[in-house]
């Protein structure tokens, strides 16, 4: 099935699900704890804005995720380009990354909450640590896979280690790195939502916590839809950037 047809079909399926939900839960079934009435969900948006401070919390979570991703990318870029590979840092990142493959990422997050309680920045620190370790580890992994012929021809042209790292290896790994950030973005969302849920201070994760405490199923339903839409938009932006800047890549 081609991509266009697939998209059209999934839009159709979504429209049908919405239609069935409206008919069933608004007009046929009585109020229940499984799915709320569509009219109540609509009204809950108001509660989300006024009582759960929706806009402030969304801004906090979005800035924590995207700023941390951007910061770790540019930090890695600066270090990589101007230190000729920065081997030690990258190898260390890969070791940390491998260690945390076997340990749920939320565990260091819980320690972070205990070490720095009541801070506005713990969410950012948490997301920044994950993205920096993951991005650096990916850079290390991909830089070892750069096509030998790119490096060989640069060496024979007389390019030194720093130029090869900056102009050849760094540019060569970008499409792979961006594809990885595409996946990492989703992982950071999940981790940060969980972190904010446990921390219970600010962010979208905290909205889930309070809505659950109040057993406010309609707000839970609405915030889930909003979260899904924001993550989807994030995907579209990252995909757009990838296609715009790395059109030359065949991955």
């Amino acid at each position: 099935m081609n991509k266009k047809k697939y998209l059209k079909n999934s839009q159709k399926a979504l429209a049908w699900i919405l239609f069935i939900w409206i008919i069933l839960f608004e007009f046929i079934l009585p109020s229940n704890n499984f799915l709320p009435k569509p009219s109540i969900v609509l009204l809950s948006f108001g509660a989300l804005v006024n009582e759960y401070h929706l806009f402030r919390n969304i801004s906090i979570t979005i800035s924590e995720i995207y700023l941390s991703l951007a910061a770790s990318y540019f930090l890695a870029k600066i270090f990589y380009r101007y230190t000729g590979g920065f081997d030690l840092f990258l190898s260390a990142s890969e070791s940390i990354y491998r260690f945390f493959k076997f340990l749920p990422i939320i565990i260091p997050g819980i320690f972070l909450i205990l070490w720095i309680p009541n801070s506005n920045y713990t969410g950012f620190i948490f997301a920044f640590i994950i993205s920096t370790v993951a991005v650096s580890s990916k850079i290390n992994e991909e830089s070892l896979k750069v096509k030998r012929e790119y490096i060989d021809s640069a060496i024979s042209l007389g390019a030194g280690k720093n130029i090869i790292a900056k102009d050849i290896i760094w540019n060569s790994i970008q499409p792979h790195l961006f594809s990885y950030i595409f996946e990492l973005h989703y992982f950071i969302w999940l981790s940060l939502l969980l972190f904010e849920f446990i921390n219970g201070g600010f962010g979208i994760g905290a909205i889930y916590k309070f809505a659950l405490q109040y057993k406010d199923i309609s707000s839970l339903f609405s915030i889930s839809v909003i979260t899904g839409l924001i993550i989807y938009l994030g995907f579209i932006v990252i995909k757009y950037l990838r296609n715009k800047f790395f059109h030359w890549s065949n991955i």
Partner: protein, 264 residues
């Protein structure tokens, strides 16, 4: 006394690789050859051997990308120890950088020579025109064929003003028409720039069509055993008797070592 120094002289070059259980595998055995200058223009030389004879290793050692186990390489009489853009290597697979446009690929080479921005633009245009890529300055390598990518790699190599360009079997995957165009390009270039081209190939016809000199190399271990000067070869009449005799001479030399070549 004739004191003209060879452009390239290789003396007693040997390369061993480490095998299993500490054994040593001899890849190149006592390679000796020289390429003399051809006045004020360049020349084209081929290293002809069956596949797997160690041509790529030899070219990498000549360009100082890899170290030999023993032996010496002299460029214009001086020992060539570190890669500095004087002997440039073009690998078998397309090595033009796909994230750079044609112009940027050439400028990458020019920047290594520290040209100022005004010179850079002028020089880049000159080189692009030299390899027949005018009008494609802002195109990326993936937009065209392998022949296009080879031209970019060649242009980038010319940008560092090399003395020698080593080309590793780069025409292997190209179609007949593109090959013909590139042979023509190389033959034009050798008269326009004072660069010595060294081709590694397994194809006898390619070697004959391109070269002024052919170095015959056998395998297991790789060793250059004969040199054939084919400057008198008539490239306009491939089927002439003189040409057939020459081709037969080369084939017989390999048959003597019980090795066969790509005759396509």
């Amino acid at each position: 006394m004739n004191d003209v120094k060879p452009v390239l002289e290789v003396k007693n070059l040997t390369k061993y690789f480490h095998g299993l259980a500490g054994s040593k595998i001899c890849v190149l055995d006592d390679i000796n050859f020289k390429i003399n200058p051809s006045g004020d223009h360049g020349s084209v030389n081929s290293i002809l051997s069956p596949t797997g004879a160690g041509k790529t290793v030899l070219l990498k050692i000549l360009s100082a990308i890899e170290k030999s186990t023993s032996g010496e390489i002299f460029l214009d009489g001086e020992n060539y120890l570190q890669p500095n853009g004087k002997i440039v290597f073009i690998p078998e697979n397309p090595s033009s950088y796909p994230w750079m446009s044609v112009k940027e690929n050439v400028e990458f080479g020019l920047k290594l020579k520290r040209h100022n921005p005004v010179d850079l633009k002028k020089k880049s245009e000159e080189i692009i025109s030299l390899v027949g890529l005018d009008g494609y300055e802002n195109h990326h390598p993936h937009e065209k064929s392998s022949g296009f990518r080879f031209r970019i790699a060649l242009a980038r190599s010319l940008a560092v003003e090399p003395r020698i360009i080593l080309i590793d079997n780069s025409f292997k995957a190209l179609n007949k028409e593109t090959k013909k165009e590139l042979y023509q390009l190389i033959n034009n270039l050798k008269n326009q720039v004072n660069v010595v081209f060294v081709f590694a190939t397994s194809n006898i016809n390619e070697a004959i069509l391109l070269s002024d000199n052919i170095f015959l190399m056998k395998k297991n271990p790789g060793k250059i055993f004969h040199q054939v000067d084919i400057r008198e070869f008539d490239r306009n009449n491939l089927a002439s008797e003189k040409n057939s005799v020459l081709k037969l001479e080369i084939e017989n030399a390999f048959n003597h070592h019980e090795e066969s070549l790509d005759l396509s």
